[in-house]
Symmetry: D2
Subunit: 294 residues, 4 copies
């Protein structure tokens, strides 16, 4: 049944490439489009079809997009483009965009009688390759039902977070906020332990072995403890973007987020010191510098 769905896929970065590949392998006709041609060729080699232009990717039953941020997705809201979409198209936007963008995107698609689903994900490229992403989806139940078989190819679990797409983005922004706070907390705590003569890696070992297990504390904790921020899993400039997404969503809803302001200041400090392209665990160096330890 789902075999009959034609899929467009826009945005073949580290995440999108893996996801599109999984859709191809699941037997779906997939029309891919990407700003740079390399990944397109790669996907075509796996069985995908290259769209001749962006509009070509919208000649589909379901359009997936996996792009960097609001600005990168903005062209997909162009009225001229949307007017060329296959009637009945459902756009599944998997990017981490702002709450405000999600609202505008939903409205733009509705204006053209098209469906819009927000489905940002938790998980790294390895999880994307394994089809093991955690998918945070929001949209009308009818649309979610329609795309559910495709999402099942991409992820281990799909959460349904409401009928309004922006609710999925809010949850994704909130989840990233929890990651940011965990990194900031480990950064400060490690500086404290170090300053009194203790060993930060013991702290990370203790908590990940007991009260705070899981990939965030294990992965970023190791970076904090070892003061190793390259290669970056997630760059500080992107972390700053994500913290700003939370602060902006908060400001629009009159929700002060004081922990987020501390993290934002720390990430600005990191960027000011030339560490914007290092992993955002480089917050640990900011905490150290403020304590005269760096």
């Amino acid at each position: 049944m789902t075999q009959e769905l034609t899929v467009g896929f826009v945005g073949l970065g580290g995440m999108g490439r893996a996801m599109a590949g999984n859709l191809v392998r699941a037997g779906h006709p997939v029309r891919v489009w990407n700003r740079s041609p390399g990944p397109v060729a790669e996907l075509v080699a796996q069985g995908a079809e290259a769209a001749s232009d962006l509009a070509g990717a919208l000649d589909a039953d379901v359009l997936f997009s996996m792009l960097a941020d609001d600005r990168a997705v903005q062209p997909l809201l162009d009225p001229t483009l949307l007017a060329q979409a296959r009637p009945g198209l459902v756009h599944v936007n998997m990017a981490t965009v702002s709450v405000d963008f999600a609202r505008r995107a939903a409205a733009a698609h509705a204006d053209h009688g098209l469906g819009y689903v927000a489905a940002p994900v938790l998980g790294r490229p390895t999880a994307a390759e394994a089809g093991a992403l955690t998918i945070l989806a929001a949209g009308t139940p009818e649309l979610l039902d329609r795309v559910d078989p495709l999402l099942a190819v991409l992820g281990r679990r799909t959460w349904r977070l409401g009928a309004e797409p922006h609710l999925a983005n809010a949850q994704k922004i909130a989840a990233n906020y929890l990651i940011a706070c965990a990194i900031g907390a480990m950064s400060e705590a490690a500086a404290l332990v170090d300053a009194v003569g203790g060993t930060p890696s013991d702290l990370i070992g203790i908590v990940t072995d007991s009260i705070l297990p899981g990939p965030v504390h294990t992965g970023y904790g190791a970076m904090v403890a070892e003061r190793r921020y390259e290669p970056a899993g997630f760059r500080a400039v992107l972390g700053l973007k994500d913290v700003n997404l939370a602060l902006t969503a908060g400001a629009e809803a009159n929700v002060p987020l004081p922990l987020g302001s501390v993290l934002r200041d720390g990430l600005l400090d990191a960027v000011a010191h030339g560490d914007g392209d290092k992993d955002w665990a480089v917050l640990a160096e900011v905490a150290r510098r403020h304590a005269g330890l760096a």
Copy 2:
């Protein structure tokens, strides 16, 4: 061999009672002392001996103390008392005390030729009963070797964190700091999700199912999502005490802890609103009030 060690135990609250009981059941002679008599009788019924006074508990090879805070442990540093201790006594202080107190306690014991080990724990009374605590120990290797069999009765794992006792306290304070930050982060994120129309329990479900599993996010996360802060697992006033332990240790070592200042202000706000005896997850209400949601 460890059977031959006579144990004193001071502080039979929810944690101490369970721990002393485990030592009794492991076959050690245990002399217990407590401010209020009820728990003493309970332990005697299990096979412990009641010390006639505080000094009686120090007539032992190893003294365990499990008290509330610096102030409660202070009487154990009294020179007159320490002078009455059995020669060679090792005091294992399992309380969450300040770094500064740990330094003073180690010095006071050294003045009387006594041993001092800091061994604060991670775990609730249920873990204490099950002998499944995580024990953060610091002291000279010789002393740690000596008390190790006893600690093995109390915990699932003993971490050795250095020769200076205060290092264990610093790690414990840092671990609690991570818990506090996690609660604060969930509180703010839940307020954000709620304010934009989403469901906080979804957020907690998503992250505990994926990136942030474990008891801190599961347990406190449920309280935050359900806005249920009683019965308290850990009261806000105690949480404030613990955050202050971190801030004070930081101040002594010139380590700014800006996230901790935010948490401290939030907990003061909670106490000012009469919520000091609720669980410290009541930080979620503070975040809600600041957003006009409460």
Copy 3:
């Protein structure tokens, strides 16, 4: 000499009306334009000429604009409009706009061979009426020389802050930041004094009589002490806008402004509680609420 300069004036709010009137009284031909017609009629009665449209105000030697914010000034950057300006026009923008807007505005005028001077002011409408504003000006020396006689009509003193217009806006944003911090500080200090049983108006009396004289501490201090926030001298929503101007300028230059984050959170809290239209000294109520005093 300056008599020969024809002046356009756009934006006849509380400030602009008074300023345009002063230019008329100083003998300059003034062509006024405003979104709502009332103030135009008022100025015409004083001797000004009504421009038939916005472009009409640009048929002048010098264009003054006194508008609310970036968004309100944006139409003045319209290329079609700028193409209609009298050759050699110098636009003196007296609004508190963002550093980024100032850069874009300077570039837009340069594209059309027009001059651009940033000249935001310190002072209330009463100071505008008295021609006693403090003017923060930036632009090329040649342009500043040209408009100087006109600025002398409007203000008691003109500061020259550099050749690049955005520098004046940065100084204005920074000055407003100092005001915001002073209000926030008085708010917290007053809550502290009150909570221990003292009298906040004594605090304000003491400091304005000695170490912190001047209109900021006297004026806003009285509001804080008396808990009287209406009529608003400067509304909380505008204060939030100004603090955000500082935070945004800081973010663009990688300058963390942690005091500003605290103020921003406080103002969001005020708005969330329905106090957005009260004077921004309502920060005092936020501080009181957090202390359980309100």
Copy 4:
């Protein structure tokens, strides 16, 4: 009438020396005591009498003390000492002590039937020499009436802030808090102006010429603008002490002071970088470092 009052004076530092000298010159018999002998000899040369010990200074109608902090004043609460005081003695404590200390001091004096007045001051040694201090006094009206003629010798104005002595200390702590916030605000604003290419001294010039005149903005503002922190008017370590007095008083009364937490972190950062003995305007360097400017 006041001529008949015998005065004791303890604490002959930069401030106390000048104040005691003024009392001598006003014709009062003054018995001075100081930890180091140099200033005693100096005062004796001016006409004072040297007390043979601390108790000798309490053989007086009114005892003034001008000491550094709680710890330095603590010996004056010694019951044995207070028992030796001349009956009816009124102790006027002019130090910046904690609210809690003031409460304990008042109680200790009451226990011995002695009077206690808190009278901390605003002003530098030059103001002390000129008898131009601002005096913040609290105590029963009867006691304040009694010491008023002496305070009139020392200051330009005496504020009566309540019958409970700690109220004067709370006001002094709050006033210093306003100074600290002003310095912190100028530090951040100067970093912002500098980072965008402007001139910090212009900012200070603008605001002190208009909205923020007075010694705090003029004096500390010059230090911030010129990045000159020596000689210190008030050392960073003392500033940290004063901010902590506010935070502690706030914590005791459940008053969050988030701006104060930012200042505290900044001052810890300064101390961690070896700047503890520089003027607390060195906060400007902290702001610069965080922005990558230093």
